[in-house]
Symmetry: C2
Subunit: 175 residues, 2 copies
DNA sequence: GTCAGTTCTGACCGATCGGACAGTTACGGT
DNA sequence: ACCGTAACTGTCCGATCGGTCAGAACTGAC
């Protein structure tokens, strides 16, 4: 039952947004009562938190792992790690995007803007040069939106094209 | 008064999302009663429509103008036109993104996904090759997110870096 | 059988939402 | 002074929201 609820919530949040999905809708989809949701998860936000926590932890782990890498190698590692993560958690990414104001105000999800800044810093190679900073922001948006949307391309191809495209955006030689 | 309402709504929608902004909040910000909002605009959605219509019309006009252009020249024209539009309507872009499910279900806003497809087609040069299609989607997301977010770069520089970055993403020689 | 504990539910609650409506105020034309 | 119209508001309404609570239903242990 608990698993059914999470599955329903993930699907509904991804297609209708967090605030656009009522507890009633989740209950109906999961085939249980609204009160049952609150029994398993004390609040609606707790469901969201449980859905997004694994992705958040992996992202934080990725960011920590990147700090140890030197110079330009870090750029490619950031791009591939980020693309892999976004592809693996497509629907979670979509949820994160469809209701940004709700998400960034949720303390349980960690400091999302700060994580974004770390990724931008890693991809811009720590440089403050406008071209690199803008490029890093562009890659962030490009990967997120492309993974959240439905592009009619097999996952393996999508992965390679995303990485190649991102490296081109950053003006990276390996691209 | 009507102008005050639109100004308040634009600001609040952009920072809190459409469904995250109540009529009461708009009225308080604009310094009038909730009933006055409904007097000037018959519904909450009508306010949203009036806010987004100019940007939507310009985008549709851009798409129409692009159809007349030949081959590769169309790619650069699409990128520059799209970047200029997104920069000019930053807050409108943010609104569009922060509440995607609400937006794509609003018939008054036109067929947003179809417009996106036209832009993707123009930027991929009409090719079905996965690399170009993915690249076009990436540019769409990159420009949107970068314009909606706050990047600490002057507008003029941002514009040039966005165009250059987008053309690099697309693997365009002029980039 | 029965008892304790977990799982689940129907009915209910207060808050808030978008919107309706009758009525008041401000004002220019005659 | 009178009136028609546009601008505006206070108040109320039904719907829906997230969440509470007392109790029913099922479960294995003894």
């Amino acid at each position: 039952m608990r698993g059914d609820i999470l599955r329903s919530a993930l699907r509904l949040f991804a297609s209708n947004g967090f605030s656009g999905t009522s507890l009633h809708a989740i209950a109906a989809d999961a085939g249980c009562s609204k009160a049952s949701l609150i029994y398993h998860f004390s609040t609606k936000e707790a469901i969201l938190t449980e859905l997004l926590t694994p992705a958040g932890e992996e992202l934080a782990a990725l960011a920590a792992r990147l700090d140890a890498l030197p110079g330009e190698e870090r750029v490619t590692a950031t791009v591939t790690g980020f693309v892999d993560l976004a592809l693996r958690y497509r629907r979670e990414v979509k949820i994160l995007f469809e209701d940004t104001p709700t998400m960034i105000c949720n303390p349980a999800l960690g400091d999302i803007p700060a994580l974004g800044q770390r990724l931008v810093a890693a991809m811009s190679g720590g440089s403050q040069e406008p071209g690199r900073v803008v490029g890093a922001h562009m890659v962030l948006g490009a990967v997120f939106v492309t993974c959240a949307g439905e592009v009619d391309v097999p996952d393996g191809v999508l992965r390679e094209e995303l990485i190649a495209g991102a490296l081109r955006t950053l003006g990276h030689p390996a691209g």
